[in-house]
Every structure is written in structure tokens, then in C-alpha cells.
């Protein structure tokens, strides 16, 4: 139940996971409830007023940088754009580091593996032209460009990665974000590394291990649909295999 501090001040019951790679536990804090408060506001309030040693990561506070993701009551969320009111459960918040990533300290995870997988999925653009060539004209309504549009606004927050059970069960799995990125490049007509990329996403840790349960899509804050992108990769690689191209 909401306890009252002073005259009108309601108090949130907040459990925050504290620890490091070798283990940790939940610590309990009481935080004044405010109008339009976000989860990031709560974490910041704890750090400024109760425990300056609390570690967490954020930068933009407006849903652009993708650094502030945490587990909130068991679900991955971008904390700077998640209102307390929307996720509060029985006046309690449980805030933990993202799943599926090693913890550095408290709420800050080590993102290296997440980004290494972007590389392993050939998530880099390989230009086919030089600066002396003409700019390629791509009609905004072309099939490829519309597919890129649907998948390009990823902010690398790893929320989908934390939501994906295949990442948990098969730690080598490249994961929704890296594969979604690869899909945008498969649709980039200027790229000249397509065969290598299709092979990369067809490895034993690649797109074919996705079970399409759409947890990634359910939680992606930017309404990207990695499941659809991965289905696209499955089709592209199946076609390339059947026609002997990879």
C-alpha cells in the first residue's frame, strides 16, 4: 500500500538489484512519488538522495541513445520513456539489469557481446561505389527501401535481446537486433557484401534458430519488428541456398 510521507507525498516501494559479476541482491528504497515520473527519474533520485554509489547508465533521457534499458518488474524497458504509473505493480517497482548480458555493476551491463554480434552478423555497410561515382537513386517507395524503413530506427538498446529466450538458451545466437540490422543491409542495394552476409546469418547461431515468438517485437520501444526482419532473412537465405548461391 502507498504510505504517506509528510502531508500528501505518496511513497513508492522500490527494489533495486545491487551487485556485480560475482553476484548481488535486491536493496529496498522508498522514493517519493511524483507527477509524470519515469523509471529513470526513480533511479536517479535514489542515486542523488540515498546512495551515490548506485551505478546505472543513461545519456539522452529522451529515447534516442538506447543506453538506459533495464528490467522493470521483470520486463525490459527503456527507463527514460517508461512512466512509473504505467508499470507500477502494487505500488512496487523491481529494477534489475538487463537479462542475457553480463553485469558490470548494479544496473550497468557489459554490452560488448551484444555489439560483437552485430559484427558477426555482418551488420556493417560495405560500399560498392567510390566517392567519384554518382549517388545511387533509390525511390522511397521501392520494395527494398520500404523494408529498410521498417527496420532502420533501431537505437541499439538491447531490449529485444533481453526479451529473447533463444539468446538465454543458446548464448551464441546472434539475437534480434543484430539480425534486424543485417536485414536492413540485405535490402541495401548499394552494399556489395551480400553473399558473405547471407552466410554469416546462416550459421549455427544465425537467423534459423529464431522461434518467432515475437518477444523482441512485443518489447521493442521503437516498434520495430525483428521477427519480421528475421523471417525476411530466413526467406533470403533459403532462396540463396536452394539456388546454390551460398
Amino acid at each position: 500500500m502507498a504510505r504517506r510521507l509528510g502531508l500528501h507525498q505518496e511513497v513508492l516501494q522500490v527494489n533495486v538489484w545491487r551487485g556485480n559479476a560475482s553476484g548481488g541482491k535486491h536493496c529496498h528504497y522508498e522514493v517519493p512519488s511524483l507527477e509524470s515520473q519515469t523509471i529513470l527519474d526513480v533511479v536517479t533520485w535514489i542515486q542523488r538522495n540515498l546512495d551515490p554509489k548506485l551505478s546505472y547508465r543513461f545519456a539522452c533521457r529522451v529515447g534516442m541513445c538506447g543506453t538506459c534499458a533495464m528490467m522493470v518488474n521483470g520486463k525490459p524497458r527503456w527507463t527514460c520513456r517508461t512512466h512509473v504509473r504505467k508499470v507500477l505493480d502494487n505500488n512496487t517497482l523491481t529494477i534489475e539489469p538487463l537479462r542475457n548480458l553480463p553485469v558490470i555493476k548494479d544496473l550497468a551491463c557489459d554490452m560488448s557481446e551484444f555489439f560483437d554480434k552485430w559484427d558477426r552478423a555482418q551488420g556493417r555497410f560495405h560500399p560498392s561505389k567510390t566517392r567519384s561515382d554518382d549517388v545511387v537513386r533509390i525511390p522511397p517507395t521501392s520494395v527494398h527501401r520500404t523494408q529498410v524503413d521498417a527496420a532502420i530506427e533501431c537505437i541499439n538498446c538491447a531490449i529485444c535481446y533481453a526479451a529473447c529466450d533463444v539468446v538465454q538458451w543458446n548464448p551464441d545466437y546472434l539475437g534480434p537486433a543484430a539480425l534486424n540490422r543485417a536485414w536492413t543491409l540485405v535490402n541495401d542495394v548499394r552494399d556489395n557484401n551480400q553473399t558473405v552476409r547471407l552466410r554469416a546469418v546462416s550459421s549455427d547461431a544465425g537467423c534459423h534458430n529464431c522461434h518467432s515468438h515475437q518477444s523482441c517485437t512485443t518489447y521493442c520501444p521503437n516498434e520495430i519488428n525483428p521477427t519480421a526482419s528475421i523471417a525476411g532473412l530466413k526467406r533470403a537465405t533459403a532462396k540463396a541456398t536452394l539456388s546454390g548461391k551460398i
Binding site: 528490467m71 529466450d165 522461434h211 518467432s212 515475437q214 512485443t218
Partner: protein
Amino acid sequence: MLKPHRHHPLWFAFIVHRLSGVCLALFLPAHFYVLGLALNNGESLDRFLHWTEHPLLRWVEFGLVFCLAVHMFGGVRLLALEFMPWSPKQKTFAALAAALSLLVACLFLLRAT
């Protein structure tokens, strides 16, 4: 098992697909073995079939028919998801697969008793 991030319909569709698949894979050797009994002219098969008339087994069979139907209908949804242009109606399709499978299993139960 049921961690909060799994509480959404399409994750349930996934777990139903997986568990029904495992059940079917485990049942299949027994099914094949029993049919193989017909090799020595049906008598041992008949003895087995009589044994299966136990009413409790109706419910096991009901479960198996449901598993088969839901794995197939759910599987068709997944094939369509992967090989056809994306449809945003996945939850509806999954519900439809579950409903159809229940219908098939109930139909079986009605005819079997």
C-alpha cells in the same frame, strides 16, 4: 518458468507448439511399435486395441489428437509467417489455430465415446 517477459499470447503459442511437438515425438515410437504388431496378423494388435478401450485412455487420446492438431495448425501459421508477406494478425491466427484444434479434439472425443 513463467517469467513476466513471457506473459504474452505469442509466447504461449510458442510453448504450446514446443510441448505438443515433444509429446508427439515421444508418442511416435510407441505408435509405430503398436502398428508393427499387425505384422503377426492382427491378434496382438487387437489385444492392444482392447486394452485402449479403458475410459481413462480416451482422455490421453484426446490430448494426443489435440497435440497433433495444434502442432499442425500452429505450424501452418509459422510457415505462413516465415514464407509469406508479414501479417500483423499473428495473435488472431494463433487463437484460431488453438480453437480449431480444440474443435478437432472434441469431435474426436464425441465420436470415440
